[in-house]
């Protein structure tokens, strides 16, 4: 029987280019549960940005399993390990079931009325003393569209503060900005079906084998098919994806932009440019060509630490591609010069004229399941419906829908980014901070700083969560949140596919959905619109969704043709979905007219090197008007290069078996057992120099902090140290390190990309020392993923039995 912890991607169903990806129904029911005894409720998975269609099995008011939906366009029935096993977290005894209020320094149970009265009283006090700019809100990429849209209206329209951002800032802010800079608006140009027909894949800093396991299953099926696409991988780790590559470029961390400029240089020098496409559908080619002219393969090889011949080979493959799909994720987004690099990946496809047609696209991917909705609803650094905050007509239009004076909506600048919100809290400018569904005390950089900000007496912290996280432990009020499957709502994945997820069970105890809590907050604050009516006109998720279909009508993310009824049954549906495209839209820009009309675009763009914001007149002068913008920037060395004191480069990342700070996945035994503890990865050469053997305990130290964990000698690039960012302190009942620090973000830097403001997690100078002998016991790191030992010889990570896979015969 198949073990889906060992075999993360399940059994192969190979297929050829242009064919349909065969369906495979994955199902897991808890031990002893008979299929005949369960009721199935439609949903989709929320443990990565694929949003695989799934049904939830319910018996006696409890979730007892899941199955993939074969009709769904995203996954054709498949589920990954997190999707198969992660639902067990809902029933965990660790769930928060009642509000907590800090009394005499201690969090104590309280009623909802007591907790909300306190939240409202402090809100009124801060607004009275400091104005709306004293209020800050930090949300998630894991709530539902209806939660975000309600939060967005209450915070921006009601309270009137720009200080609302999502943890999507750490995740996919760069995806959004790269799309805006190049194409004029957010929105993935392509479709997951482009992976079915491409002949070449260019994957930069993207490890789908662990972060998008069902996408990797699709690619494995193509790679095992009769016409294997060629694969180029840029990653300093020897991931499973890198192992499958035709060319693997394990670049030195912090040199992505030099590499991309080098690839573009080779494409131009090798005459691989689709000149008629570039001429007709882009602006900026001359500047781009001039910028990359100095990036010959030999110079780039020197900067990036990879052979020049491999750079040329990669460019040759891209240059001879007929159907190219490029992808990128955190290796790009969480490095310095993030947006500049992501834009160059867009440029690769534009120079090749490979966008807006089958098998030809670029994916600026997401990480979190509902990150796309944080962006669409304006609960992060964007405005509702991809409106442009610098365009008064857009703001006026939103004010009309919200029945507010346009002046009420903060549009004097971009919505405040998360790192700036925390900075304002640090200096006392923000006195009230409400955090929903995210755990900054583990996930933000430089944790000692974050803990000290959240612990301030003068800052009132409210945390809404399903579990008592490290962040919750630092809060003044903790509110128990209903999770996925305990509320109805919608969310959208990284190819614009919208899914409906129905409430399958009751939330535990007194837990409530975030939407309900913010409706209650608005009511208690007495927020109203310009006509004196209640600000938020909806009560149910479905009413909220309907309101969202109205506010997005005519915008790029047009939901106006969607409804809950339409999303019930069958597959998720891709926006834009409207009267012209009632079944949704597979690809954007098929006519090669991009969203760069100055009246329509979501953003006027930025200088990629400094983040200087362009204004309308700058954008008009660019003359894009429907053409894509080829933006260029020079490589600059990273902020903290290794030196004698801190000679190694530190990078963080994720494993296939855990999600974020493990609040969900550590409560699923199969996942927890697969990766039970923190570890650190060293290359065998570095380990040898440091006298470290597999399983020895090492201390990794940066100028900001340290962590201690067992060492795995893996395929990470020499000179680079890797640690997963999942391992905080909540399962030791702590808000921070008590003795043994294990969180990777103890070490990371407070610095961000100048355009997307995404923090940098992949590049800090560190030193490593061995502090204890491991006695020959290997590190507790998975052996089935990028953390597998370089020398091999360890048994595969296991423990995922009981899954049934049914391949549908064609």
């Amino acid at each position: 029987m198949i073990d889906r912890i060992t075999d993360i991607w399940g059994s192969r169903t190979p297929y050829a280019a242009g064919a349909d990806w065969p369906a495979r129904a994955d199902q897991y029911l808890a031990d002893g549960v008979a299929e005949a005894d369960v009721a199935w409720v439609q949903s989709a998975c929320v443990l990565c940005s694929m949003d695989c269609g799934m049904d939830v099995a319910v018996k006696d008011g409890r979730i007892v399993g899941v199955r993939g939906r074969t009709a769904d366009r995203v996954n054709h029935g498949r589920l990954g390990p997190k999707g198969l096993f992660g639902w067990q977290a809902n029933a965990s005894p660790d769930r928060l079931t009642q509000p907590l209020v800090r009394r005499n320094g201690k969090l104590e149970p309280a009623t909802w009325d007591e907790a909300m009265d306190l939240v409202v009283e402090r809100s009124r006090q801060v607004i009275g003393e400091h104005g709306p700019l004293g209020m800050g809100f930090y949300t998630s990429g894991q709530l539902f569209l209806e939660d975000y849209y309600t939060i967005g209206l209450v915070v921006r329209g009601g309270i009137g503060t720009p200080h609302l951002d999502g943890n999507t800032r750490l995740c996919t802010a760069t995806a959004a900005f790269a799309l805006k800079e190049t194409f004029g608006s957010d929105g993935a140009p392509g479709s997951l079906t482009d992976f079915d027909s491409c002949d070449t894949l260019f994957m930069v800093g993207h490890n789908p084998a662990e972060t998008h396991t069902v996408l990797w299953a699709r690619l494995l099926d193509r790679l095992a098919g009769p016409d294997r696409p060629r694969l180029i991988v840029v990653d300093p780790r020897r991931t499973k994806v890198a192992q499958a590559a035709d060319v693997h470029l394990p670049v030195r961390n912090g040199t992505n932009l030099a590499l991309l400029n080098g690839i573009l240089h080779e494409l131009i020098a090798g005459d691989h440019v689709d000149k008629s496409f570039v001429e007709a559908h882009t602006v900026g080619f001359d500047k781009l060509a001039q910028t990359v002219a100095g990036y010959d393969a030999d110079r780039v090889a020197e900067i990036c630490g990879v052979p020049a011949a491999d750079i040329r080979a990669a460019a040759e493959i891209i240059g001879s591609a007929r159907r190219l799909v490029s992808t990128c994720l955190q290796g790009v987004y969480q490095s310095h010069q993030a947006t500049a690099t992501a834009c160059q990946i867009n440029n690769v496809n534009l120079l090749r004229g490979m966008i807006g047609k089958p098998g030809c696209t670029v994916f600026q991917l997401n990480g979190q399941p509902t990150a796309q909705n944080t962006r669409e609803t304006g609960a992060d650094g964007d405005m509702v419906g991809f409106r442009n905050w610098q365009n008064p007509a857009h703001v006026a239009d939103l004010a009309r829908v919200w029945k507010l004076d346009p002046l009420q909506i903060p549009s004097w600048g971009p919505p405040t980014h998360a790192m700036q919100i925390f900075r304002y809290a640090q200096e006392g400018a923000i006195r009230f901070l409400w955090i929903t569904g995210t755990n900054p005390a583990v996930s933000l950089p430089e944790l000692a700083r974050i803990r000290s900000i959240l612990s301030q007496e003068r800052l009132f912290v409210v945390v809404s969560d399903a579990f008592l996280t490290e962040t919750g432990r630092l809060a003044d009020v903790v509110l128990p949140a209903a999770m996925w499957a305990e509320k109805t709502g919608t969310f959208t994945n990284h190819d614009r596919t919208v899914h409906l997820s129905e409430r399958a069970i009751e939330p535990p105890g007194q837990a409530r959905s975030d939407m309900d809590v913010f409706l209650d907050y608005a009511r208690r604050l007495g927020l109203s619109n310009a006509d004196g009516e209640p600000l938020v006109p909806w009560q149910s998720p479905e009413e909220c969704f309907t309101a969202f279909t109205v506010v997005t009508r005519g915008r790029p993310c047009d939901y106006s043709g969607l409804s809950y009824d339409k999303l019930r049954g069958g597959s998720g549906i891709q926006w834009p979905c409207n009267a012209d495209a009632p079944d949704g839209t597979e690809r954007l820009y098929t006519d090669h007219v991009f969203d760069t009309d100055p009246d329509e675009c979501e953003d006027y763009g930025h200088d990629l090197s400094t983040g200087a914001a362009f204004e309308r007149k700058d954008f008009v002068a660019l003359g894009a008007a429907g053409r894509a913008v080829l933006k260029a920037a020079h490589y600059k060395p990273a902020h903290e290069p290794p030196d004698d004191d801190y000679p190694l480069l530190f990078t963080t990342g994720r494993t296939a078996y855990h999600w974020h700070t493990r609040t969900k996945t550590a409560h699923a035994p199969q996942l927890q057992n697969a990766a039970p503890e923190a570890w650190v990865e060293l290359s065998p050469a570095d380990a040898d120099r440091l006298g470290v053997a597999e399983g020895d305990v090492v201390r990794v130290e940066s100028r900001r902090g340290r962590l201690e964990a067992k060492a795995r000698l893996s395929g990470v690039r020499e000179g680079v140290v890797f640690a997963p960012f999942h391992f905080g302190y909540w399962d030791r009942d702590g808000d921070g390190p008590d003795g043994t620090p294990t969180a990777a973000n103890e070490l990371t830097m407070t610095v961000w990309d100048p355009v997307s403001k995404q923090p940098q997690f992949k590049g800090a100078a560190v030193r490593v020392e061995r502090i204890a002998d491991g006695g020959g016991v290997p590190a507790p790191a998975p052996t089935t993923t990028a953390s597998e030992p370089a020398a091999g010889g360890l048994p595969p990570t296991a423990g995922g039995t009981g899954v049934r896979e049914t391949v549908e015969q064609r």
């Binding site: 600048g413 700036q420 900075r423 000290s452 200088d607 600059k636 100028r703 610095v751 100078a765």
Partner: protein, 162 residues
């Protein structure tokens, strides 16, 4: 001919801009973007002057020597320390605005010095100098745009919040 003077003016203006970028970054070390980007752009000023060096020699300019950059690692250690000390005073906002305004003027001053040199280079038909100045001018201009963007973002919180 006073080409040497136009080159020296650029040197002085870029040197002053670099100094102000570093000083603003260090005085407001808790503003991490100002700190890191400030130092990156200060290094860019030094690169500009290196690119200009052959022309300084050609036209007999005698610029003052450049400041030596501190290493990024040492700077980061200083940032962590000083950000903890000064990062929590509420008066920091007004000081920040004052320093950013000065920085903006320094960037404008440098931008204009490049414009003057570009005009002179064109009249001298010095194609090599025109190339260098065109590139550097654009970056100096962008530096000013960046400071302006930063000022616009910072102003509401400093002046309009309680």
């Amino acid at each position: 001919m006073k080409m040497n003077k136009a080159v020296e003016d650029v040197h002085e203006a870029e040197g002053e801009l670099a100094k102000r970028l570093r000083r603003t970054g260090e005085r407001h070390a808790a503003e991490s973007d100002l700190f890191h980007l400030g130092h990156t752009l200060a290094r860019q000023c030094a690169e500009h002057l290196r690119a200009l060096a052959p022309f300084a020699e050609r036209y007999g300019a005698k610029p003052a020597p450049d400041d030596v950059d501190a290493s990024p690692g040492l700077l980061e250690a200083a940032r962590v320390k000083s950000a903890g000390l000064v990062g929590r005073t509420e008066a920091a906002g007004l000081l920040l605005m004052a320093d950013l305004r000065e920085l903006y003027l320094a960037a404008q001053h440098a931008e204009l010095a490049w414009v003057v040199l570009l005009q002179a280079a064109k009249a001298r038909r010095d194609a090599g100098l025109i190339d260098v100045v065109t590139r550097c001018h654009e970056e100096a201009e962008m530096c000013g745009k960046w400071v302006r963007t930063r000022i616009k973002e910072a102003a509401p919180q400093v002046y309009a919040a309680g």
